[in-house]
Amino acid sequence: MGEGHTLGDTPEEDRSGPILVAIDFSDDSEAAASWAVKQASALRAPLCFIHVVHEPVDQPGFYRENPSDITRPMSEVAAEMLNKYIASLAYNFPRIMALKAAEAIVVRGLPPTRIVEAAEKVGASQIVMGCRGLTGMPRLMVGSQTERVLQLSPIPVTAVKAPGKNGDNQDA
């Protein structure tokens, strides 16, 4: 793995920039990650994974599944979760080199703005993220993070839904 870019770099007008994959550990983001890995392999593009530490309002304790994590900062737990996640992807796709050199970013904040900001920082060529397909009341209450990213992002955004899901999914 080379030096790669660091987050402090000035954004470059670079079409071969990494594919930024937003991970929230849901089924949809898993589908998005698989899609992005294949895409990276086809385009020979580097991969960069981002997780925004932001506990869903309806799931307090999201980062606290393991009781021993309670006294650790959430970012620390999230970083571990993301590293394990990337390692398991690398295990599932052993021949994809981009995964071995993938960069992992963990930031605190509100997901949509953070994803777009990080994409700019790493000079990403596109953003890939899961799409939950909320409808009705949950959509009104929670809103769609993907939609917000689409509105804010100056680069292409690919939204991927987990297989077997349709628009009436009520999982918020």
């Binding site: 793995m1 790669g4 987050l7 530490v53 932001h54 506990e55 869903p56 309002v57 309806d58 799931q59 307090p60 304790g61 999201f62 980062y63 606290r64 309670i70 006294t71 650790r72 900062p73 959430m74 970012s75 620390e76 970083a79 590293n83 394990k84 990337i86 390692a87 690398a90 295990y91 071995k100 960069e103 992992a104 970013i105 963990v106 930031v107 605190r108 904040g109 509100l110 703005t113 953070r114 900001e117 990080a118 920082k121 209450m141 929670v142 809103g143």
Partner: protein
């Protein structure tokens, strides 16, 4: 356990603010009375001893606050850590969070303290806004317990509590019993403060202008504003409730007026958490905003219905139908106000629960994130978990990461000296913050090496592993030396008002540039295992020693000069030279170790 304590400085500031608030109130009250002609003499000709009354009122309030402080501090001693632990653990579910908030606040007797703890938890990333909001709702319920206790007419037992508590503190040998004694005495002082305030206000019962004034406080907006300002000044909603109930015990205030003032106390109490959130990360500011919004919205929802709410409270509170007039007010109103406070806070908290999600989102919208730079978490770049199975590669990756860590520390070192010599306190804090990244990387490296160590390793791999541990440790030490030692020197320079002379600045900067160069070379030695660069680092030993000596000689010559503050200046400058020399020594050791593993 990390970051689970409320800063003593914060606690001291809160105490100081209460005292200043109390003093300001006392002065305003005196000036108001002296300059208001209506209070110069009562219409009936009964002169009121304003000075004596003011002393009783404010002396009573001081005793009340002192009692609360004593009780809270004993409770913290007896159960404080457990309370924080409970707060940290039991907030996985919003209802459990609310109940936890109510329970913890009832124990520590202050919603402000609960919210300040929450702000701290959220700022350090131990808790999320989603968890904190439920606890805030509960804290408002828990805080009403104080008003409930003081509304019981236990003032006649006040001195019994004081005596009993003092006896326990005096006679007990075990620290825990002493703390319980202090707690009981604190409770006694609260009751005694109430009694003093209540007796002090007795003459007002027949004083027309005051009765008219209290009539105007029945206008809810005035009542809310007065109580909010009072609470913000004394930084305690319980103290405000104490004064309201003391007024009620003399029959000086109606239930409607009391409810309005209790609502005002809810709003005023938000100031403390607001102050605690200043300068904190956005997540923590959102907690303070949630606290304010929740209380203000709650008050706005009920303010138009105070008379109906008062009727409801009268119907559920004890009733003294055999009495009439002020006597009946005095008998009924204290308990009614305490009940109104509890019921209102419980209804609002439970009523808000279904809207917790949109409420938290509203807070997030109101307080957007800071730009990304400030919230990046540094991550290991080379520590690939898939390589753990092949330790020889994994060790190599760890070495790269240690080289990267050395680069980070060097960046810190580069920026540190100019800031230590001439920078502001904020700039120094930024330098100290840079160490958090180094610490995070160090933790990841150690964790990774730990995982490598359980694999089957050859002798040479084991040796290399030990060297990598040592290198990471020494580089982390350098980071800590900058974070604590050098930054502290900078802070002391600011505190002592030391100005470094241009010639000294030049000499130390020259010395510093050499150490930075050595650190740069070391990072290269680690990453590239470059023998030539190690030679260069080793060769710098003589030069560095010479420069340190020259700088020290210059210092001694300046010591005899007639410069202001020269002893302090000398001490700081010599310490800087000493720190830089130590950093160079560690650097050299790291470079040597790095090459030994080549």
């Amino acid at each position: 356990m990390r970051n689970l304590t409320v800063s003593p400085v914060l606690a001291w500031h809160a105490k100081q603010r209460s005292l200043i608030g109390l003093a300001v109130l006392f002065l305003v009250f005196l000036i108001w009375i002296v300059t208001t002609p209506a209070f110069a003499a009562s219409p009936g000709g009964n002169a009121i001893d304003w000075m004596g009354m003011s002393l009783q009122l404010f002396g009573g309030l001081a005793l009340f606050l002192f009692g609360m402080e004593q009780m809270a501090s004993s409770l913290k001693q007896v159960a404080g850590e457990r309370m924080k632990d409970i707060l940290g653990r039991l907030t996985g579910n919003r209802f459990v969070g609310m109940i936890t908030g109510a329970f913890v606040t009832a124990i520590i007797q202050s919603s402000s303290v609960t919210t300040v703890i929450l702000v701290g938890f959220v700022a350090t990333g131990l808790m999320s806004l989603a968890q904190a909001v439920g606890v805030i709702f509960g804290a408002n319920i828990g805080t009403t317990i104080t008003a409930q206790i003081v509304a019981f007419k236990v003032t006649k037992f006040a001195l019994l509590f004081v005596t009993l508590g003092f006896g326990m503190m005096f006679a007990a040998k075990k620290n825990k019993i002493k703390q319980y004694g202090s707690l009981i005495m604190g409770l006694g002082l609260i009751f005694y403060g109430m009694a003093v305030m209540s007796v002090g206000m007795k003459p007002l019962r027949s004083f027309e202008p005051f009765i008219e004034l209290m009539g105007s406080v029945s206008n809810p907006l005035i009542g809310i504003a007065v109580a909010a300002a009072f609470t913000a000044l004394v930084q305690s909603s319980s103290a405000t409730l104490g004064v309201i109930i003391a007024l009620a015990m003399q029959g000086l205030i109606s239930l409607e007026g009391g409810i309005a003032m209790a609502l005002g106390a809810n709003v005023g109490t938000c100031v403390t958490a607001g102050l605690a959130a200043i300068g904190q990360p956005r997540e923590a500011v959102r907690v303070a905003v949630a606290h304010v919004l929740f209380n203000v919205i709650g008050v706005l929802l009920i303010v138009g219905f105070i008379p109906y709410f008062a009727d409801l409270i009268r119907s559920v509170s004890p009733n003294y139908g055999d009495m009439s007039g002020q006597a009946r007010l005095a008998a009924e109103t204290p308990r009614q106000i305490a009940n109104a406070h509890s019921i209102f806070n419980a209804i609002i908290a439970i009523g808000f629960m279904p809207f917790l999600s949109p409420f938290a989102r509203l807070c997030e919208r109101l307080v957007p994130d800071q730009p990304l730079e400030k919230s990046l978490v540094i991550k290991a770049k080379y520590l690939d978990p898939t390589l753990l199975e092949t330790p020889v590669f994994a060790l190599d990756r760890a070495r790269f990461e240690i080289g990267r860590m050395a680069g980070l520390v060097n960046e810190m070192l580069k920026q540190s000296l100019p800031t230590v010599m001439t920078g502001t306190a904020e700039e120094l804090e930024e330098i100290a913050d840079m160490d958090a990244d180094v610490d995070a990387l160090y933790a990841e490296i150690i964790d990774y090496l730990g995982r490598v160590s359980v694999k089957e390793l050859s002798d040479s791999e084991t040796k290399q592993l030990m060297r990598l541990f040592e290198m990471a440790q020494r580089i982390e030490d350098i980071g800590d030396t900058i974070e604590t030692g050098m930054v502290m020197l900078g802070l002391r320079r600011i505190a002592d008002g030391i100005v470094i002379s241009p010639t000294t600045l030049e000499k130390i900067m020259e010395f510093h540039a050499q150490v930075v160069h050595a650190m740069e070379l070391t990072a290269d030695v680690i990453k590239k295992q470059d023998g030539k660069k190690l030679k260069q680092v080793k060769g710098m030993k003589q030069d560095i020693a010479r420069m340190a000596e020259a700088a020290a000689r210059h210092e001694v010559s300046r010591l005899t000069a007639d410069a202001p503050n020269r002893v302090n200046t000398y001490t700081r400058e010599v310490e800087i030279i000493d720190y830089l020399s130590r950093i160079f020594k560690r650097c050299r050791r790291v470079a040597k170790t790095a090459m030994a593993s080549a």
